[in-house]
């Protein structure tokens, strides 16, 4: 099969970019979207052109490194799917495919389709952990945890930090990402002592980093490859409110 791609090319953060058209031939329905880009890139190199830069690593939908805007949708048309797990069988060769990087003020473009998402690491550094230095832990069975709580914590913990939620949000808010972490740790007994400070510190960091605020548009969950539920945001908001009431 042959596809027409319109790919965002931009040499660096300070330079202006634009869409460039490419035709790629010899694409099979079993190829992943990134394998299709590999085909394009090998050809570009042989033609002496610089290949399209894009982030990827595991190609299994778990590392969170890949992420492209495909026809205006973060991670493309399939629900609950990362870009690396998207296959060409879902695309009609008759339609050109527009491929762009995540767009959000705190995610500057590094080059072409690659963006700098380190702001998400800063949010976790601000408090997205349980303070448990190695060597001092009690026996793992000391505190039983109801299965339902453990399962709910797991659901929130499944976030891969890809940033699609930010890219999809009209305000450029990382609220779903932050709430996923706050919910994961906040649902567990081990996470209680730091629960309120964690929520507050991460939220403050998020604002300081220049992310937009959350107005509950729900666009984030539609593109989230791991199905992080919108209720996590309510959990986070509840913790932040409680912290404020307690005058922390």
């Amino acid at each position: 099969m042959r596809y027409t791609l319109r790919v965002w090319r931009q040499r660096g953060p300070e330079e202006s970019g634009g869409l460039v058209d490419y035709d790629v031939d010899g694409i099979s329905p079993d190829m992943s979207f990134l394998e299709m880009l590999d085909v394009l890139n090998e050809r570009l190199v042989l033609d002496g052109e610089e290949p399209v830069a894009f982030d990827h690593d595991c190609r299994e939908g778990i590392c969170g490194m890949c992420g492209l805007m495909i026809d205006g949708v973060a991670h493309g048309p399939e629900r609950a799917t990362t870009t690396c797990q998207l296959h060409m069988r879902h695309f009609d060769p008759a339609e050109p495919i527009v491929v762009e990087p995540w767009r959000a003020a705190p995610f500057p473009v590094v080059r072409d389709l690659m963006v700098d998402r380190s702001a998400l690491d800063r949010i976790v550094e601000a408090g997205g952990y349980i303070s448990a230095p190695a060597g001092a832990a009690p026996d793992a069975h000391a505190v039983p945890i109801p299965k339902a709580d453990a399962d709910a914590a797991f659901t929130a913990a499944a976030c891969i930090g890809c940033g699609a939620c930010v890219a999809a949000c009209p305000n450029g808010s990382p609220m779903l990402f932050t709430a996923a972490k706050a919910t994961h740790l906040g649902l567990l007994p081990q996470g209680q002592p730091e629960r309120l400070s964690r929520a507050e510190d991460m939220l403050t960091a998020q604002d300081d980093l220049g992310f937009g605020g959350c107005t509950q548009t729900g666009e984030c969950t539609l593109v989230c490859p791991k199905g992080i539920p919108l209720e996590t945001i309510a959990t986070l908001n509840h913790d932040v409110l409680t912290a404020a009431l307690r005058g922390r």
Binding site: E35, E50, M65, L120, Y129
Partner: protein, 646 residues
Amino acid sequence: MSCSDYTNYSEGEPIADTRAPDGPLETRWERRRFAARLVNPANRRKLTVIVVGTGLAGGSAAATLGELGYNVLSFCYQDSPRRAHSIAAQGGINAAKNYAGDGDSVHRLFHDTVKGGDFRSRESNVHRLAQVSTQIIDQCVAQGVPFAREYGGLLDTRSFGGAQVSRTFYARGQTGQQLLLGAYQALSRQIHAGTVRMHPRTEMLDLVVDDGRARGVVVRDLVSGEVSTHLADAVVLATGGYGNVFHLSTNAKGCNTTAIWRAHKKGALFANPCYTQIHPTCIPVSGEHQSKLTLMSESLRNDGRVWVPERAGDPRAPRDIPEQERDYYLERLYPGFGNLVPRDIASRAAKTVCDAGRGVGPGGLGVYLDFAEAIERLGRDTVSARYGNLFEMYQRITDEDPYEVPMRIYPAVHYTMGGLWVDYDLRSTIPGLFVIGEANFSDHGANRLGASALMQGLADGYFVLPAVIGDYLADGPFGPVPPTAVEDAEDEVRQGIAALLAVDGDRTAESFHRELGRLMWELCGMERSEEGLRKALEQIPQLRGEFWRRVKVTGAGGQLNQELEKAGRVADFLELAELMCLDALHRTESCGGHFRVESQTAEGDARRDDDAFSYVAAWEHTGGAPVLHREHLEFTAVRPSVRSYK
């Protein structure tokens, strides 16, 4: 570029000291910890430790060293430490907790691991690993790792290949992810506290050795392309395995050998490079374009049954083949362990039935992994709760529904047991260079048991390295490194980059990688023969010569350049591949994942030769023919026996 000669080798001095305490196995670790010198807390911040890699091993090590108050510099090539390849581990992590009450113990885990490794690992290390395993689970739970639980609120466990007890802790099919996020969060806490400085998107390209000590790393900033040096009192490599030498493997695309290979060229011995693990349950290759292979967790073998049609070339759909015309060959050949035999055995059994023309799917390179019986016995909901995300992943890739039709699976390269040689204290042969996680060779012998890599990575990072590194650092700080040592190392790296860019040929680095991978899979893969290995040793230098004449790398060095990154990694694989083949050629016995066709029993099982090969092969780089140093293995607690899973 390298003019090494790998068709030959010479014998060097055997390795005399592994720094392991003697005396009873059970108390060695305790005695080692007690004997290790400590560094006073006030002095720790004056000591800098570089940790390269942020996977389970490196992430947990950097976090823990930071907690102890050392000044830590951490590096990874991804854009965030949270994305290290460990994130992809699915199935679980072993620990001798005996929570299932089914007779597990530290001794049993130790025993299973030594046996699973086909008696090619060091008893003291393995025993320590089994001891430390229980603390890992405590540590991870304290951090908030959401392991699977039972209705009573206690932790759930399951069985993995090579074990008859249920000792594998898991978090759905995302155990590696959850463990890594735990380590990443601990690391983030230290970054926030200022004890760890993080350098993501940075690749280590060489080791700085001064006055016989490892003193730093030369790195390339992958965004700006700038080459620079970071100095320290000790360097820890936690850069993972080199399975991508086969091009197609279950490893992440960026996994490479660069850091350990370049350290090897600077003097660190490389142990057992040919020990490679081929995982039996991966999704088969679907075409030329394939860029990586996807693992289907071994945990699936708990409930899935492996079979092929009785008759070669049976054209019927799997559901149309009646029970009595199916061959559940693992259950038939190994009634004791059935579908749960260790990986090397399951992989070769799959190859044998496919070679006999009984394979299924495109090209006959596949066997069925069938859940029909499990779905009937447990119900669809239970099966979905256990394996739902794996089923989904399978369906997304193949467009087939494993609830309805059996999965098709085939073996693929998965893990490398070989790596840099380390002693009991995780020291390489370069003083001040420590190696942890998959990057070292230490605990798995010739075959790693499922769910033991995560255990080893975290044991090394949270508990072992932090306890022993002080004994080395107690002699530090080691004073300034002369600028010439830094300049020399940087110049070498810059020349290497310039050389790759200068070729300006007509083939992509990827095309060479693909060709090398095919060659290695055929000649140094699941079965190895003298003839094949000799052929490989002829072909690899030719391919490497062609690489340096024909590779094309676009762009420049002083910019973000993914082609340049790839070409550098492929260049290193092209050198490592030869050492692997030489190691495989010299080891004329079969053991674990290393199967020499010349050394098998009448039934086609691997035949070890303990009299000749009960040693670790540690190779020294010379620039000419490598030198073999042997570390003899002694077994006092587990008697080497024929590994039987029947």
